[in-house]
């Protein structure tokens, strides 16, 4: 059977004599060639670029908290950068309680075959809030929600920042924070009590209940409870 496909190799913005991508071997722990975008960022944003590290062959650019969205937008739009793919977005909290929490963006330029890690350090005591990159990358939607859910970091400008993996009424805090014990913050008895007290029938958020007459379809008793201000469960 014939195939409708032709072989395609990426990296179309690279000059034709650019070396082919190859498996990295014997990568040095520290140092080595930095991603040229780091220099470009320094030239363009100056003081907003706080530090550039190269660890295990990957370039990390630590930037100022308030200018993340601007920097990401420039990386995305500029013709010499073209970081059009947001690989990942997450946060790291260190065991050292003095170490700031870091929010990490992994960006790829498919056209130039580059990989860049952007970082923001949130000092202890500061509000854990960074600008959302959702206006640039729609794919950041769920990634930012997960980061908020797990670390409690707020993304200013995200259209719908609410919990995603944990349920909306989850009260124990932010699970991936280091002060959150592995077994959960509440005792087993309390966790069980909350699970049993949850109302499994009221499974719709108020936003969903605003759809048409869905609210009217609920049992009378539940409608009364919801009207009296009780929150719905997931």
């Amino acid at each position: 059977m014939t195939t409708p496909f032709t072989p395609v190799v990426g990296g179309s913005a690279l000059p034709s004599d650019a070396p082919a991508a190859a498996t990295q071997r014997e990568v040095p722990h520290r140092g080595g060639p930095a991603n040229p975008s780091a220099e470009a960022l320094r030239a363009k944003f100056g003081g907003a670029v706080l530090r550039v590290d190269v660890v295990w062959g990957e370039t990390t650019v630590i930037v100022e908290r308030t200018r993340v969205q601007e920097i990401v937008r420039w990386l995305h739009d500029d013709a010499s950068q073209r970081y059009d793919y947001l690989s990942d977005l997450t946060a790291v909290e260190f065991r050292d309680a003095e170490h700031p929490i870091e929010v990490v963006w992994h960006l790829r330029s498919i056209a130039y075959r580059r990989f860049l890690r952007l970082k923001v350090q949130l000092q202890r005591g500061q509000p854990y809030e960074v600008p959302s990159v959702w206006p640039v990358f729609k794919g950041a939607d769920w990634l930012e929600r997960e980061c908020y859910d797990m670390f409690g970091i707020r993304f200013a400008g995200h259209p719908d920042l609410r919990r995603i993996l944990m349920w909306e009424q989850y009260k124990e805090g932010f699970p991936l924070r280091k002060d959150f014990p592995l077994r959960g913050r509440f005792s087993r008895a309390e966790q069980l009590r909350q699970a049993l007290a949850a109302n499994p029938e009221a499974r719709y958020s108020m936003e969903e209940l605003s759809i048409a007459d869905a609210f009217e379809d609920l049992p009378q008793e539940m409608r009364n409870r919801l009207r009296s201000g009780e929150k719905t469960g997931e």
């Binding site: 498996t23 690989s87 075959r113 997960e146 944990m166 592995l182």
Partner: protein, 437 residues
């Protein structure tokens, strides 16, 4: 909703064999110009008919949601107006648990996230861990890992193919796909002793080398498998029902797909030739001769075509890998990470110390961080690991491709019919274990 008009040659119903032994096909629907019919996109939302919207809850206990995905759909008649996905029903806190485990102890957790691709996850994870330790694996382990990844890609695509067929209403290819998958699991079972939860890799090598006679069994599989792909393609690719149920559904343009962070077959079906194996190669993938199939319309039909072609290309890679499989050790000769042989550990002082330190304390990477991405069957699977110099990672992050792919589902289903939601959802190839982690 974008309407897409395409012409696909459709063949229906086999009446018998011709002189060459090939099946003779009689198209049921014939256009005036010859043997092709035009399949148009389903009609868009009817203009402004009065009527109340309805709320439909799909899942989490629904066979067509491939696990415990829950979609709350607002319907106008049969057309989806709004889709609100709910996930997290399978959340187990893998990333949290990983912070309390040594690097080798995390391997079993990688089995359980994307459980259709468990041995592929083992390899992806261990590539990240080895980068953190500054270790390069041996030539034999490199090729064995390529074989592992491609085998699991085939197995995962076969499950996707079978379940999608069931969702859309075709039962036969499901059986064929699962029969072939069984062969792969037989291979894996002989190699590492487990079918689904393989835990096949260790920092610096593999849990086991392949047993004697294994490569012959793999060769048999490689020889026979393309026939199954042909049969499935003969059954589906030009099948009028299949084409009608898949074409024009959930279409994403190349720019949208990139912006939404789609990866893997989802992205390539939209026309973006991004494959981690080609663009950011690992395990010497640049030295293998294989093509990256790229679609053009980004609909369910193109995703099907891309995945079926990937089955062929993976078989090609397997063939080359098998031919070049070198002799030699599978584990690196580095007793910081690899346990010495038991006989030495009980007879030599130094080996006993290595053994003790590894078992009791665990290997320690230097301070550092890395993000290592591989091409999993679902897309770009990345592991981001941060080490503070102790035996347990500070942060172990999975970049789940189906999580990001699924986040685009409201964009894909809104404006389509309720029954098409099932087809679109199936085409994303989600595994809830990976999404909820």
């Amino acid at each position: 909703m974008a309407t897409i008009k395409r012409t696909v040659e459709v063949e229906l119903s086999t009446t018998g064999m011709d002189a060459q032994g090939r099946p003779v096909r009689t198209p049921l629907a014939v256009a005036e110009d010859g043997s092709t019919i035009t399949v148009a996109a389903p009609p868009s939302i009817e203009p402004e008919l009065e009527g109340e919207h309805m709320l439909i809850n799909l899942g989490p206990q629904h066979p067509a949601t491939h696990g415990v995905l829950r979609l709350v759909l607002e319907l106008d008649g049969e057309t989806v107006v709004r889709c609100i996905p709910h996930i997290g029903y399978l959340h187990c806190g893998f990333e949290k648990i990983g912070e309390y485990r040594q690097y080798n102890q995390i391997v079993p957790w990688t089995d359980r996230e994307d459980y259709l691709n468990s041995i592929g996850n083992n390899v992806s994870y261990i590539l990240g861990a080895e980068r953190l330790f500054g270790i390069d694996c041996t030539p034999r382990a490199t090729v064995l890992r390529v074989i592992a990844m491609e085998l699991s890609r085939i197995a995962s695509h076969l499950v996707w193919l079978g379940t999608t067929c069931i969702d859309i209403g075709a039962f036969t290819p499901f059986l064929w796909a699962f029969q072939e998958r069984e062969n792969i699991y037989a291979l894996l079972e002989r190699w590492v002793g487990a079918r689904l939860t393989t835990s096949a890799t260790r920092v610096g090598g593999m849990a086991a080398d392949v047993p004697a006679g294994w490569t012959e069994q793999l060769q048999t599989f490689i020889t026979l498998f393309p026939k199954t792909i042909d049969e499935v393609e003969r059954m589906l690719t030009k099948n009028g029902i299949w084409v009608g149920r898949t074409i024009g559904l959930g279409a994403m343009t190349a720019d949208e797909a990139l912006n939404y962070g789609l990866s893997g077959p989802m992205l390539r079906a939209s026309g973006v030739a991004y494959d981690v194996r080609k663009d950011f190669p690992y395990l010497d993938y640049e030295t293998y001769d294989f093509d990256v199939p790229v679609g053009s319309n980004g609909d369910v039909y193109d995703r099907y075509l891309v995945r079926v072609e990937e089955l062929r290309q993976s078989t090609r890679i397997l063939e080359q890998a098998l031919r070049r499989l070198p002799d030699g050790p599978v584990n690196v000769d580095d007793h910081r990470v690899i346990l010495p042989p038991k006989s030495k550990a009980t007879s030599e002082m130094e080996s006993m110390i290595h053994h003790f330190k590894q078992v009791m304390e665990g290997p320690r990477p230097p301070i550092g961080e890395c993000y290592v991405a591989t091409e999993s069957p679902k897309g770009e699977k990345g592991y981001y690991m941060v080490s503070d110099g102790t035996a347990k990672p500070v942060r172990w992050r999975i970049r789940p491709p189906s999580y990001v792919n699924l986040s685009a589902i409201p964009k894909m289903v809104e404006g389509h019919l309720l029954s098409d939601v099932i087809a679109i959802n199936a085409s994303i190839d989600i595994v809830m274990g990976e999404i909820d982690r």
